[in-house]
Structure formats: C-alpha cells, structure tokens
Symmetry: D2
Subunit: 133 residues, 4 copies
C-alpha cells in the first residue's frame, strides 16, 4: 500500500495513528473510484429512471471522498478541526450513497460493489475520527 | 453569472433560495481558484519557510471548496444532511485559510486577495445554511 | 476578476500573457461549474434517456476543466509541455461537450447556457495556446 | 481490486481491454495519492527551498491523474478522442513528476516511492493507449 509507505516517510509527526490515516486515505480513493464508476454504469442501465437518486449520491460521494482523502493525506501544519469536519462530511456522503446503492444491490452488481466500498470508507472514517480524539 | 442562469433553467425545484445557492457555488469556485493560486505564489516567495502553514491551508481550502461547490450546484434528489455537512466543512476550511492569509496580507498582496475570497465564501456558506433551515 | 489580481501579485514571471492566463483560469472554472450543473439538470429532465451522452460529456468536461484551471493557475516552476497537453485535452473536452449541448439547446435552456460556457472556454484555451508559442 | 469488479459489472461494452482500463484507473488513483502526499512531505522538509519544483510537479500530477482516472473509469457514451488526450496529458504529468522525484530519491524516501507510483502510472497509461489503437 503506497500511501502507508508515503506516510512512514513523512518528515513531520502525523496527526493520528499511521494505520488509521493510511486506511482512510486508501478507502477514500477506492470509494471515489467506485462511485465514479457506479454513477457511469447507472447511466448505461435500462432502468435509468430508477437510478437517478443513485447517480446523484455517487457523484457527491466521489467528490467528497476525493477532497477528504487529500486533506487526510496531508500531515504538515494540520488543522484538526478541518480534518474532523471533512471526515464527518465524508461519513455522511458514504452512508447516504451506501444506503442508496444497497437498494439496488440485488439487480446491479456495480451497486453491490460500490456499497461495499462505501461501507469500508465509513469504517475507515470512523476509525480515523476515533484515533484523533 | 452563468451559474444563476443554470440554476434558473433547472427542471427540478431547488433545495434553497436561488440567490443563496448561486452565490455559494460562485464563491466556492472563486475561492478555490484564489487558494490554488495563493499556494503557488507562496512557493515562489523568498520567505517560503514562513509560508508553509499558509500553503497547507490554501491547498486544503481549494479542495474542500471545489467539492462543496459541486455538491451545492446539484439540485436533483438532494440530501440536505450532506449539503449541510459539506457547507459546514467548507466554512471551517475558509475560516482557517482566511485567518492564516490575513497574517501575511500586509507583505503579500496575493494573501490579501485570497483572504477576501475566503471571506466572501464564508459569507456565502453562512447565507446558504441560513436559507436551508 | 479575482484571478487577474492573484496573477498580478505573483512573485515569479508568468508563463504567458497575463490576460490570456487569467481568462483561461476563469473560463475553466465557469465551464466546470456549468457542466456540473448541466449534468445534474439533465438527470432531472423527463427525456433523461436522450440526455445520457450529454451527461457523460458534461461530467468529463467538468473534471478536465478543473484540473486544467489548476495547472494553468500555477506559475512557479512551470512545465510548458504539461501546460500545453492539459490545455489541449481541455479544448477536446469543451468542444465535445459544446457540440453535444448544442444539439439540445433549443429544448433545454441549461444546455444552451452550458454550450456557451464551453465555447468561451475553448476560446480561452486557444488564446492561451497562441500566447505560449 | 474494486475497480476491476466495477468495470466487469458495467452494462455497456468497455472502450478497451478490461485489464488495461482497470490498471490505468487504479494507477491514476495511487499516483494522485502519492503525489498529494509527496508535495505535503516536501513542505515539511528542511531543504524546502530545493523542493519547490518537486512540489509543483506533484500538485499538477495529482490533479491531472485524478481527472484522467475519472475519464478513463467512465464507459458510457465514451469519446475516444478525449480519452486519448486526457491519458496523453497524464503521461506528460507523470513523466515530469517522476523525473523530478528521481532527482531527490536518495535523500527523500517519499520521493522514491512517489517516483515509483508515477512510473507505474506512465506504464498503465501507455498500456491503455496501446490497447485503444
């Protein structure tokens, strides 16, 4: 996991547990990619009209996960208040997207895989928040 | 202002006051551009070592503003809880970045201009949050 | 225009004409916002199935415009080859998105406004490329 | 690899070889995270002044990789000309960033790891371009 090596090589003390940070950055990146792909797969489905809410959730979740992953990756002169606010927004985005994707998981495999990526990102965000306190 | 026209042309009811939404999307975009530029200008300054905290704040603020501007721009199947969490994270990012930039506003004009963009984005975020309640 | 002031305050020589740079960064930001909004407006339209290609074009164009606006905004230690490659990719994205949006401009006002934002971004990209040579 | 599963579950035919697509999306995400982290680690180094060019390269590379990863991930109504232009810009960004990071790889482990992520992303981009022709 490249991001673990990057954080280990950082010249400054990290703001939290190294594993929790690495897991969060990794999970944000994977969730963002899954959500971008799921929104796009939904656009190609025959029940497109039923997938509108899912597309919206996925687009939001991808954007919030990418921004959060960047904020969490940075360790120089960190502002813990901002890290917390960003990770909390990410939690809200992942939860909403997972719940919507779970509703379609039986008929769309991409929604099932995306819901799992959201779930892992929620857990990584919760783990990081716990390690910061 | 293009974004005002876009929101007026939207087929669905918007989640809040049209002016407050348009102002927030606009301010997020301008603040993101100012922060990207300010981080880069700091990299070219002779007192670079003193600007490290400012660069970090600007990078975070640019990322959070871009993601928030996208979430706020979307009006189809909105999740108000996510809109609020994203706008609140944006407020935290803009406040931290403005406070840091204000400390350098006298000797770096780009920090003064960037602090003003952050201030406008804070006001736009607060205005939107008030209109959502 | 905030970005013009930011570039004027930059401590390093800029890579091209100041007006051309400012116009490009500004146009990329406005085009990205218009495309994000147009993709979302299309999701709320009753002829959704006919708008799939337009949504895809808008999502791509928003992403490429945002990245390009950031690369162009930076003036410290620039790599002209990368600036050119990014601006050229942006031109391709804006042209494709404008052509698709123009096909729907008569029945969807958001597509008309978005096509205009793409057109301005194409012109700003072409203007910048010309000023770099 | 989540993204491989997502692409397999896509309802539309993909624009290229599934492995080449998945590898490119994956490599873009990892390179973006490594570059974001490397730029930040450089900000915390004692030889900060010597790392300015590296920070700039990393910031650009992160932005271009993220946008490219999104364009490549999408498979509905693709525009091959845009995919090519984005992947080519990504190649330019990764090559420039790798070359700069390699110059510092002996004294900064994060630059060594980042250079490796850039190298993998270059290879994935080249592999995808070859599979598209």
């Amino acid at each position: 996991m490249t991001i673990r090596e990057m954080l280990e090589a950082h010249p400054q003390p990290t703001i939290g547990d190294l594993d929790a940070l690495a897991r969060c950055v990794q999970a944000c990146g994977e969730c963002a990619a899954a959500c971008t792909s799921c929104a796009d797969a939904n656009l190609g489905e025959s029940d497109l009209q039923e997938m509108v809410r899912c597309i919206r959730s996925c687009l939001d979740c991808a954007d919030v996960c990418e921004a959060t992953g960047r904020v969490v990756a940075r360790q120089t002169a960190s502002d813990l208040g901002l890290v917390r606010a960003a990770v909390e927004a990410c939690l809200v985005a992942c939860r909403a997207c997972r719940e919507e994707c779970e509703r379609h998981a039986e008929h769309h495999a991409h929604c099932r895989v995306c819901a799992e990526a959201c779930r892992r990102c929620e857990e990584a965000c919760e783990g990081l928040l716990a390690s910061l306190r």
